[in-house]
């Protein structure tokens, strides 16, 4: 769990960890052996949930998931994923008709399908109600029971039961 004030660099840190940003100074070290971080985690991929959700507005919830399911090649169960994020009733609706919270839930369902060991989530609780935050905590619990880990940037809404270490980013005063 990465915490810190606005502008302290949470998003930047996550983007570097996810391999999206390559222009940084300093060295990236991790405990996953010598292989590159990108490919080092056992499944070879990262489940990424950023501010941009990776959903197509013109497709329905189920179509969006079907495409990502094909991409991930894990043949996950779409209806189970939708069940877990409580979107079964709206699965046929195009994404542009959904509320911000529903979109966030749909993006979580995408993450479930990815089957990655490593989740990197930037403000997963954005736009979610308290039930939604509880949902994330449950999903994280299940993810950790399956041996997965997650790196999460978040404010205080999410407090998972799974074993968690906290990092707080501070703005360094540049005198």
């Amino acid at each position: 769990m990465v915490r810190g004030a606005n502008g302290s660099g949470k998003t930047s840190l996550l983007r570097i960890l996810a391999g999206l940003t390559s222009s940084y100074s300093g060295k990236l070290q991790h405990k996953f052996g010598d292989s590159k971080w990108n490919t080092g985690v056992s499944s070879g991929s990262i489940g990424w949930l950023g501010h941009k959700l990776g959903l197509k507005q013109d497709l329905s919830a189920i179509e969006n998931l079907a495409i990502w399911n094909e991409t991930y090649k894990q043949h996950g169960d779409i209806s189970t994923a939708l069940q877990k994020v409580e979107l079964r009733n709206t699965q046929q609706r195009p994404v542009y008709t959904m509320s911000a919270g529903q979109k966030q839930r749909l993006a979580l369902a995408r993450l479930l399908l990815s089957n990655s060991q490593l989740w990197i989530m930037d403000e997963p609780g954005a736009n979610l109600d308290s039930a939604g935050n509880k949902l994330i905590e449950t999903l994280l619990q299940q993810h950790s029971e399956h041996g997965g880990i997650a790196i999460i940037a978040s404010h205080d809404q999410i407090n998972p039961d799974a074993p968690t270490s906290y990092i707080k980013l501070e703005q360094v005063a540049t005198a």
């Binding site: 915490r3 004030a5 222009s23 906290y166 990092i167 707080k168 501070e170 703005q171 005063a173 540049t174």
Partner: protein
């Protein structure tokens, strides 16, 4: 060797010497070349005195091509080694190169009127110089459109390199195209050139290159100062709200 000069501080000390040398060199070469062009070189037996504009035109076009080559090479260094100084060089070279290109085109048009009877002829040289002007302008447009300095530098570098790879192809196609309907085109190497003419031209070209170098270095210095000022302004405006967080040390939250 390049990395030795890539240090901004070293660049500044070095440029204190190099810039005046280039500036004086430009003045010492260009002004005499004009005097020679206007008073010493004999008038052309066909074109009379109008051909004397060549001594402004040809060096400008040479310097413009040199400027594009400079832009492409600086972009390459900036892209591969991500050095900010190479990027600054590329960034300031573009408008200067565009200005030389424009000067070349404009004087070419003025020369074209008495030569071909028209200000503009779609001659291969003129046309490919025009294409080069658009490459400079496109580079400047894309640099200006991207706010983030880092992304702007790298995207701009790719655009400049893509242009440089394509420029020979464009040049060849334009030559092929204009050779289809060849009517009146000049061929400098074919016509007889007086010795004093080629000397004057040579002096002029070297002078223009010195001028280009002098302009690039001076603009780089002012660009570096602007960036430093901007960084200081941002930093000092950040200072006030961050004093609170200065006291708190890196305690874990829980």
């Amino acid at each position: 060797m390049l990395s030795y000069f890539a240090n901004p501080v070293r660049f500044k000390t070095l440029s204190k010497w190099v810039a005046p040398i280039l500036g004086i060199g430009a003045a010492v070469l260009i002004i005499p070349s004009w005097i020679m062009a206007l008073f010493i070189v004999p008038a052309d037996y066909q074109q009379g005195d109008t051909f004397r504009i060549m001594y402004v035109h040809v060096p400008a076009v040479f310097a413009a091509s040199g400027a594009y080559a400079f832009l492409a090479i600086a972009s390459f260094f900036s892209f591969v080694w991500r050095h900010p100084l190479a990027d600054t060089a590329a960034r300031v070279a573009a408008p200067i190169g565009a200005a030389f290109t424009f000067l070349g085109l404009f004087t070419g048009a003025l020369w074209g009127k008495p030569m071909w009877g028209a200000y503009w002829v779609w001659d291969a040289r003129l046309t490919s110089t025009l294409v080069m002007l658009f490459l400079f302008l496109g580079y400047m447009a894309i640099r200006a459109a991207i706010r983030d300095e880092n992304i702007s530098a790298r995207i701009g570098a790719i655009a400049a390199m893509a242009g440089a790879i394509n420029l020979p192809i464009v040049k060849y196609s334009v030559e092929w195209w204009s050779s289809l309907h060849q009517s009146a085109s000049i061929n400098l190497s074919g016509s007889e050139i007086d010795n004093s003419m080629s000397t004057t031209l040579f002096v002029g070209i070297i002078g223009y290159f010195c001028l280009f170098g002098w302009l690039v270095i001076n603009n780089m210095l002012s660009e570096l100062d602007t960036r430093r000022t901007r960084a200081l302004v941002i930093r000092s405006s950040d200072q006030r709200p961050s004093t609170a967080s200065k006291q708190s040390t890196g305690n874990p939250d829980a």
